[in-house]
Symmetry: C2
Amino acid sequence: MKITMADVAAAAGVNKATVSRVLRGDARISQATSEKVWAAVKRLGYRPDAVARGLSSRINDLIGVVFGDLASPWTGAFLSGLERVLGRLGLDCIVKEAGSEVSRQTHAIQRLVSRRVDGLILLDCKKQNGADVPVVSVGSYNPGSTNVSVDLEAAAQALKALAAGREIIYLGGEGALFTGVDELLGVEVKKTRGTLHVMDGMPREENKTSSREPCDDYVICGFRKEALYCGFWVLEYPAFEMGVLAARILVNGIRGKGVRPQDVFLVPSLFSPEGDLFIPSSCGWKEYPSTGPARFPRGPRRDR
Amino acid sequence: MKITMADVAAAAGVNKATVSRVLRGDARISQATSEKVWAAVKRLGYRPDAVARGLSSRINDLIGVVFGDLASPWTGAFLSGLERVLGRLGLDCIVKEAGSEVSRQTHAIQRLVSRRVDGLILLDCKKQNGADVPVVSVGSYNPGSTNVSVDLEAAAQALKALAAGREIIYLGGEGALFTGVDELLGVEVKKTRGTLHVMDGMPREENKTSSREPCDDYVICGFRKEALYCGFWVLEYPAFEMGVLAARILVNGIRGKGVRPQDVFLVPSLFSPEGDLFIPSSCGWKEYPSTGPARFPRGPRRDR
DNA sequence: TTGTACGCGTTATCAT
DNA sequence: ATGATAACGCGTACAA
């Protein structure tokens, strides 16, 4: 049998409404009754029912997160950032995967709305007009809602600085993280001293056998953690930070009704094979020493 | 203004209860009224309220998923598998991160229970006694609940077969996926032809400079997708499958009250640098050819 | 086959 | 400062 507020009220000898007020921290309540109520709550082991509270108050402390594709390696980091913020604020999030079809996305969103979520975070999803809750979009841009995205221009800048005049070849595959950065890259090619390969997503078949020139350097787009074995440079996807920011912005939109925060762009970091952060000292190109030997094996050694 | 069942009932000229029955697909309802109701539903754009439904029916079609650490690279794959199953069955899931402290885990679980989740999936979390909902544990073993885990013995078998007599060195670091496999590994060492390095989790500082012998081979524990650049062998963590299984088992526990499914062990796959699945033809060791050249660059070439 | 009426557990709006 | 009571939106015995 479940303990309800009515039980607590009876045990404390007060009214249901009073119990509710005490629990919600209403200011105008006497010290005496407050203690009585809390004692009863503890004694009976009462747990408030979030569903009933939601039905009555229209506040569910719940947001919906709709992923186009859940299975990407940065999902966890994103959700971790999200939860870091939501946890502090006493919000929960319900996670859905909707694929790339708009019809499924619509379905997922409507489902969440029927759960009375207070807000929505959309990752690589088309925004729907119907939902009258605050929306923050991540990844694909949705005009009309606040957007959190990666600063591709900054990424391109960093890569160009690293290339320091070398030709840059961008190899984008399935699940690429920095889609669109290639268009910002190819402009100013000097083609000296070889090339810099930027590898983003699953390598395509035709790239697997791509011949390389001497003095090559490689950049992987992804996470430092996972790429450490390779001995490559890493252009890190700021997933955790995106989660934090998306949550913060959404909560602002929920609490402060009406305000529509600005779009936000996050700058990804570029790490050397040694794990050092690469900070271009100027905006333009500069000479940067070619990668030294990595401290960790890059692959099976077959020589000798 | 929100459209409720009462509005639909009025528009269709029937009773609220009738609308409810039509929506729930009650068999004993006349064709005529059913069509009337559906017409009204469509015309008014009525959306059922999941919160009210939950309060009334005690069924929320909602489960809670508690992660010890969300930020691991396989979180996304796991959730994807989970959602694949839950989506079909019309269930939603709410995701929480609880860290490693039991107090926080308890807090997260109680919060979910107060939301009236129909079941709980715990990843690397201690199970609580209080929750009287079905529980499936993943990762760390919880006696008293159904557990989904990786078959470490199968993993060890595969690695030993691959080693084919070579010494196996297990380098486990932060975020290791196959914790405990090393104890199943070190037994039968022949130490011929060099060593096989198994790298699991973030490389520790002391391992980064570990000297290697010729004829080495490397196995990374993680995901094929992310490890493709390295040219290493990959012992793939079956995260997606774990999600699918955890969901299936939990739903069984929810639907068929009382049944407690067996614990389940999932066999991880071992892939060659070329992306081929490695299937040891016998249980014991056998000679296996050393890795051929990978089709994708393993790291910056600094020679020549 | 359909309507009536109450319950679910809480918050909000009146009173007092 | 507190009590009584009506919402909140839906499911469901029970009645018809």
